[in-house]
Amino acid sequence: MAGKTVYDKIWDVHVVAERDDGVTILYIDRHLLHEVTSPQAFEGLALAGRSPWRRHANLATPDHNVPTTNRARGIEGIDDPVAREQVVVLDENCARYGIEQFAMTDRRQGIVHVIGPEQGATLPGMTIVCGDSHTSTHGAFAALAHGIGTSEVEHVLATQCLVQRKSRNMRIVVDGELPFGTTAKDMILNIIGRIGTAGATGHAIEYAGSAVRALSMEARMTLCNMSIEAGARAGLVAVDDTTLDYVHGRPFAPTGAMWDRAEDYWRTLVSDADANFDTEIGIDATTIVPQVTWGTSPELVLGIDENVPAPEDFDDPAKRELCGRALAYMDLEPGTPIGSVPVDRVFIGSCTNGRIEDLRAAAAVLEGRRVAASVTQAMAVPGSGLVKAQAEAEGLDAIFRGAGFEWRDPGCSMCLAMNDDRLYPGERSAATSNRNFEGRQGHQGRTHLVSPAMAAAAAVAGHFTDVRELA
């Protein structure tokens, strides 16, 4: 019998019941909630006269809708009455059901995928779900983590389980040393460029290889975060010392004898040597250069030294059509060097790149430099209140402000522009977030996805530029 993958191992210990047709009732250890995808689930729960199965499995925080300025006024500071109601309703639901919440004024509030790991609420081997597709982030801890819809949020609240069919196993092995100036963000954009936005549909991805092993936990979170952009609901990395060192001492993490017991188990969360992967992909890390997306799908990505493609460059008619539409939407001409494209706004933040190492990487580029006069706005939005406090303790806020960046309060912000942080029609951004879909950052806005260092470099130059030449 073949060995097991990390995914197989986590799956197997969470099976409550399995039907003959292969559909499984899977137990969920941790459920993260935010204001946008939970209100209808709580309403459904109440209408059916049900209550949460295990309230302590849940942790909530408002993140999508919260403003990133004027936070001293709390919920009253949300000018948009519809957005305000959503945050109020999360407060009410958490109070009603006794669910722990880092409310808007709590210093631990932040993007749900930043605070889970930060608090140790995300632990290796857990099944973790949230009504947000970037729940794949938590896979960095060798957790089985994926996004769910609102009906499933209600299902998890009511039953502590999900009805699931097991995914296939895919392994992406990235070997070699990631070159100077390239990051986990460049690695994942490069992967998505190779396999496409549906390349891993139906699979759980395990990221492996020496380049992945060498990544910090925060970098692994960036990598796993964008698994959904390759079509995989879950992406994960096996447990090693880096994982355990990060988790140790976090508020929700076990201590003492319980830690020792947990560690013994967590150390087994590596794929067996004879485990079977349905799909395997190998990538040479040394070939990866800083990446910039040029189109309206994350798979439309270039190295900073490349030129915008033409529809004829693609063999597949569907890709040719996608390219043509993306060129029109992005207002780009084929053959344009991506490094010559000017930017209007720069956004550093999000569940992809809103952690302390991301802010440090951007600040390292910005130190002693200024945002170009042609850039309308440059914004740094820490992923949580604790990330913000840490950055301020390190003096990073002074570097951002000194360079001409706005230093904001934590939230999802311009990643999806539900609050006031947004692009205006025709504007172009350099963004460290995860989606460059049409209108994602604002009606008729044009998004280019990059790493934090590349975003900082673009802010300074006023156009995309090779951060390796600024260092």
């Binding site: 059916a48 959503q86 039953t159 009805v163 549906a198 549909t201 929700f252 319980m258 539900m418 049409e438």
Partner: protein, 217 residues
């Protein structure tokens, strides 16, 4: 949710791949705490020329006549024909609610994104996967024949129309729930004893997962 046994309706053809849920329902409409009120804003940025906002009267919007769903021939369509990877991106179930409220009961495509597919099943919007060849053929027919209608039969798992017939696969359990309009939560809670039993074993085996639960069950 409404039961789905069979449905007959006219087909609207949306000929683009990778339609993401940000397009199906843009983020400004996700601020609502309700499950309804999204139909007027389905494909908002494509359907209208002006920028959509929550509460804006649809009758006062500027219509984008170049967008296929605005073509008079597709008025009243209840089956959406689409291309690969339909519903990719964000997990927002609002995308499914918007499609249903607009009047769609079924989406036919060669492939769907996983989360969208699941969300659809849980709301009585039937996602039907047909082969690329079948979907190509349907696009051809729908483009040629104004008012082309299909009959989607969940029981026999068939899609039939004038000059067209195809079979589709669906797993037995979602099929049963859809056909009876049943709540999946109720079905899972029928296993409540098994869940409790599992939980008690799991608590012994991995107590750190339950460390914050205290003694309360």
């Amino acid at each position: 949710m409404d039961a789905f046994e069979q449905h007959e309706g006219t087909v609207a053809a949306l000929d683009r791949a990778n339609v993401d849920t940000d397009q199906i329902i843009p983020k400004q409409f996700l601020k609502s705490i309700r499950r309804t009120g999204f139909g007027d804003n389905l494909f908002d940025a494509w359907r209208y020329l002006d920028e959509g906002e929550i509460g804006k009267n649809a009758n006062e919007r500027r219509i984008n006549h170049d967008f296929v769903l605005n073509e008079p021939r597709y008025a009243g369509a209840s089956i959406l024909l689409a291309r690969d990877n339909f519903g990719c991106g964000s997990s927002r179930e609002h995308a499914v609610w918007a499609l249903l409220e607009y009047g769609f009961r079924c989406v036919i495509a060669p492939s769907f994104a996983d989360i969208f597919f699941n969300n659809s099943l849980k709301n009585g919007l039937l996602p039907v996967v047909l082969t690329r060849e079948d979907v190509d053929e349907l696009f051809g027919i729908v483009h040629r024949e104004v008012g082309y209608a299909l009959r989607v039969d969940l029981d026999t798992q068939t899609v039939t129309g004038s000059g067209f017939m195809a079979h589709f696969d669906i797993e037995p359990e979602p099929k049963r729930l859809l056909m009876q309009g049943l709540d999946e939560i109720g079905a899972t809670l029928a296993h409540a004893d098994a869940i409790r039993e599992f939980e008690s074993r799991h608590r012994q085996r991995m107590p750190w997962v339950f460390a914050r639960d205290g003694n309360a069950p």
